[in-house]
Symmetry: D4
Subunit: 207 residues, 8 copies
């Protein structure tokens, strides 16, 4: 059986950030909060760095679910921010689907809270519509690792590809020579262990 | 390869609760007991909320396996409760299969104890009969996480979809506007972290 | 070196519940939320069952920390509820200390959120004042197990005794014959595994 | 896509126990040794209970790998015991394959040490030959859980079904009424938690 | 500060086995059940091997707590078996304390279910009475590791020594030459990894 | 035995940050790197907020150990930064000890990499000199949790108190009214879960 | 559906070792460093033992990523060592692909750092080109187990086979008689538990 | 209470390596075998580097316990190697105690297999004799982490100090300037992560 590697192509990708809201984040317990916050902001920086069209959406932001994470709003001041009036699956919201279509992209990167609902539902819907769908695993969180495993399984068996933010960034960038400093800055800011390497190297060279 | 997202449809779903019995529950060690009890009762509340036809069954309830969890009996006083005289796979019991057929539904939500037997066996049998089968992962328990992983793998490779109770509830509900208070009450009762959000929000608004 | 076993004595115990507030609970990640909620309510039921004088206190309940868990307020409608205007260590609040003194008890059971601050600080202060202090470990929560270990170590080295809620209840009760049904009901409500035993036993006897 | 549930059929099953040798067992570290020994002996008791043709094989039993676990030899005194002169994959040994063919069965249950080699290799070979292959996960052990996960993945993706010993026993037995005492004895001997249930039940009935 | 190493002395030790009952065992979740059963029976074999006076006691054995583990009764047919009518702390039962005194021993080995109550309470009481007290950690079980840690801490800070069954056996035996075969048999029966070593050695010598 | 609670007193505390160097940080594996970096920077912000005299030191910063974490240098531009020429225990460096003495403080907060050496050695030395010593557990890292446990044990048994950064901040601040905004900002920046609470509260109040 | 077991064939395999560089190794945290180093060197010894054509490649070895692990260079002094000028996916480097083609092999064993990028990307590319691809799981490392799980899933769903180094060695060797001493030496050097077996056996035979 | 920091003094230390035998090592399961072997050899290298008098002892080396690890014998060809004829506690062997006394040292570093017996027993005996005793935690292994915790607790409460090999080496060395290359070589050989730092640094300087 032949395999086609449909790589992430920065000219063909849109990013969907679903329900990263202050209240809902308190439900996320399959990641340490410091790590999870860092991962979500890394995705935001990657989307901005590659100028990927990005769509934000929230569910009941004026209730217990809480407002959208402010850093996301600040990073994407001009992005569509669709406050869904009730649809749990973002793909059930016509405005959201239209925003996706308007990007003209065929590869969708989806991250959200919680993984088993806010990521899995639109991921499966988009897959059915013919999109290539990639769930950003570590910028999506849920109640515990067992729920995560089940949600990953459901998506993966349907055809969704699972990728962490670092792999997403690398597959989009493809070649360091496209922008060494810009991409290096993202790693330095979001991978403390990589920042250490840079500092040690610089010190040694200047030593 | 094209994908069809056969979503849970509240008009086409039946719920099968298999062998949640007082004795057998002592075998469940892949979940904390407080958490597991809560998950099982959450499924019951969801089934009731959506008026899903629900079938209960037990194995040797008058022996070491023990009586059915009383809350289940109370929540579904009129549901078929099939005391199997010996069949381990509930689907080998004609009365049980007939009860499933009588619901007229094509999507089956199955939870039970233990996952690798009481859930996996009827799930595979139902799949063979042409049903769409969904195992409710966190309302099903077994001896340890390694056994669970193997059971999930076997079911998943056959085509069973793995879903946690929260995702089940959300996929059935689809839109909060269908009943904000009713669905919110289920979450408040079974997700302490969500109850906290509601309380904080209410306090802030009244503050 | 001789050892004196100063057992919990139901006539000499007061209970201090510190900062179990809806917002602060979202910081607790060393326990599963279902389990933790159950543990806190078990302590409340024990305090009520033994008629132990109980003191509630909150920190900034009208801000992000959120309101006190409603079940606690309902269980202890007449208990002192001291809203501290700013003191982090409850023992720095004179009203709180006075309420403790007013109980006339010398053994203090303390539970709270977060363990390393809201439990450890008043525990150490009370110890210095000559009280026998017992931290209820599993009704107190904090950021992660490593923080918990350090907080337990600090308290324990100072002389605080670490006890889980079940041990607290048993050490207070001493003899089942004092009230079999009453104490059994607490276990049945808060230990699902024990409820299973009761149900199986009853079924067998009635079988 | 239609699914056929090829259930274990006690009249069509052979059991292959590969390299459960005293030396090799010291390599197994994905299971507690008490648990693992119990699991292997449970499989042996199941094979004997259902009179399943069973084939034993060892690799270099007269060297560091050590002799076969004595309980296996005792349980199957008349079973073929093939001491392979060097082949790592048991299926590369003609005598072994012939012994399998001689059973005339089409379903193979395989357990062994280590999972990634002694189980995976013959499992994949047998699959290629057209057998239905089931790996008994918890009677097979290896270096650590990460190696186990990779080996399970490789087998599962090829079509091997993963089953724990309890599920194997139940799928073979199908109906308790076939032999309540005999099957109950296996559970009582190999599931301490089930033995407890039986003892409690008996005591209650005699109480 | 000088230290005296009061070693276990087989002529000065009594063994207290508290509440190893079929029902209560279902509460034990800090050990795998196969492992825990093995540990308890290892303690029994050690007590018998060294002819240590042994006292059994149960709590409400005719209710949900269930009957004593049958192997214990069989191993110690003539030992005092004190069915406590209600006292939770066995040391509150005069018959039990008298039985301990009647042994004339000053070193007490205590194991039981659950650690935080059935072990910790009599351990602290005995310590207060001047006994040297040793808790057998791995033949005592409780709800989860966090409860265990707190119970160990409370006992240890009071002066109870924590020892696993293997260390207990070795400290009692002191010198293999006292009985190589007898002590070796205990290890072979209860340490599968040690049985493997013996089998490999014997095979090599016979090889 | 009476107990004195020598609380952290912001007028009597100095902070020692030992060997937080880019190379050495790669040895730290008992914390997630995102979490650890956050913890170290939280300590720095606390030291600055309370104007605590702070001493930085490094070991072979011009070799493989690498340069000091740049954020620390930036936060404390005027702090003593003692580059030790070879002493492993910072307390063996006279300049370092003099710097500590020059602060005139009697309570020392120590954090460093790695816990078992760079923290434990000076902590024990300072304790011997009569200082009250507090190890900041979560801003100190080492090879793995087992090494950490041993190092904590050694320090704790000697009299070092173990505190996490959050508890340090709270014990220093004592009363929110001293500076609600300033202290709140530290929490918002270093406790993502607390930031979420603030955002939700603000949104609710503005809602 | 028929299955073909394309076993590793030593005459048809090439080995690709991607980015095992001193700096990048500090990012690997899903394995203990002692274990990981051992695994990588075991792969090198296996490649050498079977004379497998081996290709080394590095990414920015003269920057923070650091130089290639020296033992690899020493083991393969004549192997192609391709310093990629910027391509993240080694398969995007023509020289690398040419080196692979020049081997004339159709089975590729790939290991590298980090798994989700340096292994997954060329693995998927090679698969697309029609190679049979095997990822050596335990000689490939990444940030944490959750990232590893996602990367394994992505590769496995595409058709990459997951194998640990021990299984790779065994599948290549097939029969101990091909070279007992040579293969035994690899195990003795890289499996301490196996070295123990050999030593015990030798001692027993000489005893 | 004043504290004296009795630091390890290379002129006053002897090393006792107890029962690191090929058979017994198969019982060690609280450490990964690669890691454990490395730790034991690191201790040997440290002992040799500082010319510390070292005593080896074995228990029944000509039986299932197996021969001493050969690397230890090679590193210390002239060290006393006491084959105990039966004493489990090495301190019960007069020859062993005499060998310790002959060193004239007052600080004893002890490592062995298994921690709870072969380390704990002589550690407590030596403590009673007035020695300062240090258990090398990570060069000592046992059945599982729970057994380890209990053994550490028993030793620590008696006054034994717990130290890992890295801390031992650093406390003995005190100042890098005493021998930078020699001590660096030990770290490079036994801390792969440190070796990486050295390689990166060297490359950068040569870059």
């Amino acid at each position: 059986m032949s395999f086609t590697y449909n790589r992430l192509d920065k000219d063909n990708v849109a990013v969907l950030l679903v329900d990263h809201q202050a209240g809902l984040l308190s439900l996320v317990r399959d990641y340490n909060m410091d790590e999870f916050k860092n991962n979500v902001l890394a995705v935001a920086d990657i989307a901005k760095f590659f100028n990927l069209p990005t769509i934000l959406t929230t569910s009941f932001a004026d209730g217990p679910n809480g407002p959208i994470v402010p850093e996301l709003k600040e990073t994407f001041p001009d992005a569509p921010l669709i406050a869904r009036p009730g649809q749990i699956n973002a793909w059930d919201n016509e405005e959201f689907v239209q925003a996706v279509k308007d990007t003209g992209k065929k590869q969708l990167l989806i991250a959200g809270v919680v993984t088993d609902v806010c990521v899995a539902f639109p991921a499966l819907s988009a897959l059915e519509e013919g999109y290539e769908v990639f769930a950003i695993t570590d910028a999506s969180g849920t109640f515990n690792p067992a729920v995560r495993d089940a949600a990953w399984n459901r998506m993966s068996q349907a055809g969704v590809q699972l990728m962490n933010w670092f792999a997403v960034g690398c597959e989009l960038h493809r070649d360091w020579r496209n922008d060494i400093e810009g991409f290096g800055a993202i790693l330095a800011n979001h991978l403390p262990a990589y920042a250490n390497l840079i500092q040690s190297r610089t010190a040694a060279e200047n030593g």
